[in-house]
Amino acid sequence: MSEQDRELEDRTLLTVLGRYVSPTRAQSILVRARRDSPALGLRGATPVTQLLARLAEGLRMFVGEADTRAAVTELTRLTATNKADSVELELRVESDIARARLAARDMCLALGTSALVIQKLATIVSELARNIVSYAGGGQLSIRQCGGGRRGVRIEARDQGGGIPNLEEILGGRYKSRSGLGLGILGTKRLADKFAIETGPGGTRVEVEVHF
């Protein structure tokens, strides 16, 4: 909470919000966002990201998609002294999958991306997280902004499981499982703008980029 306060002064936030909604609404959006952010501590994203995401949700109730995104882009610029926000998650159990995709959503909201990009990223994170939890017995997932001035998000999933033996078959679309596995990896590849996978008996590493 204190870190959040240092980085984001209410007064500054209200100035930006006030450009899109009335002062009273700006105030109530902020109060609600401040109140809800710490309560959702189980979500994976950092406090600042969560606050921005809640502000985006609040704004969306009063102004259109385009204005919400413009406002959030402005707010994001205030917060980050170009310090790229990132999320590191440890995935073990099924509820971690939901936590991971909500973290991805919060990050997208804070970055002011389109609804389609949010959807793509949340789905990719969900698929990768599920593979880790269901088939590798646990692993790590990181979500961060793309480097090199590229507007986009980069996701890296790592596990120390037994690897995917029939990867070729899956990526070739020839693998049809009854459990739904296969579509996860192939679907992720289809949704991603950049996709790389390494798998072996020592584990699997998937790197995905989605550009805005």
Partner: protein, 140 residues
């Protein structure tokens, strides 16, 4: 932890069942849902099942698979399924992924879905809530 907070309502109307999915549906909630819906179909011999996904913010391949399986099981019990209310971003994402929804019919809105299942609505004008009519009666 199958408490009420993560339980999805299974609504019965005109011998049809409507299931409104909402927010973030976890694997556990989805599993409980399949159970609840199939039991309700058996208990009520429902003539149709509508799965309304209007309130969902995302849908991954696992959830698609769960819904497709539910539709297939319902069909085995003789109950057709219609999925309705899919948002444009979800539809585009699923399409890109190559998800397969052929086992269930789809409709744009809940209304369309019910029509698909043979429910026809008769809409009449609502009597206007006229405060003067009460006064008239009092006076008369």
């Amino acid at each position: 932890m199958s408490s009420y907070e993560n339980r999805i309502p299974v609504i019965q109307l005109w011998q049809r069942i409507v299931v409104p999915l909402q927010g973030d549906v976890t694997d556990e909630t989805a599993a409980v849902l399949v159970d609840d819906v199939l039991r309700t179909i058996r208990d009520t011999s429902a003539a149709g099942l509508v799965i309304d996904v209007t309130g969902m913010w995302t849908m991954d391949s696992h959830l698609c698979h769960v819904i497709a399986n539910l539709a297939a099981a319902a069909r085995l019990m003789g109950t057709p399924t219609v999925i309705c209310g899919m948002s444009a971003p979800i539809a585009m994402t699923l399409q890109t992924m190559g998800a397969d929804f052929r086992l269930a019919q789809t409709a744009l809105t809940l209304e369309d879905a019910l029509v698909r299942l043979g429910v026809t609505a008769q809409v009449t004008e609502i009597e206007p809530d006229d405060p003067t009519s009460d006064e008239d009666r009092d006076l008369g």
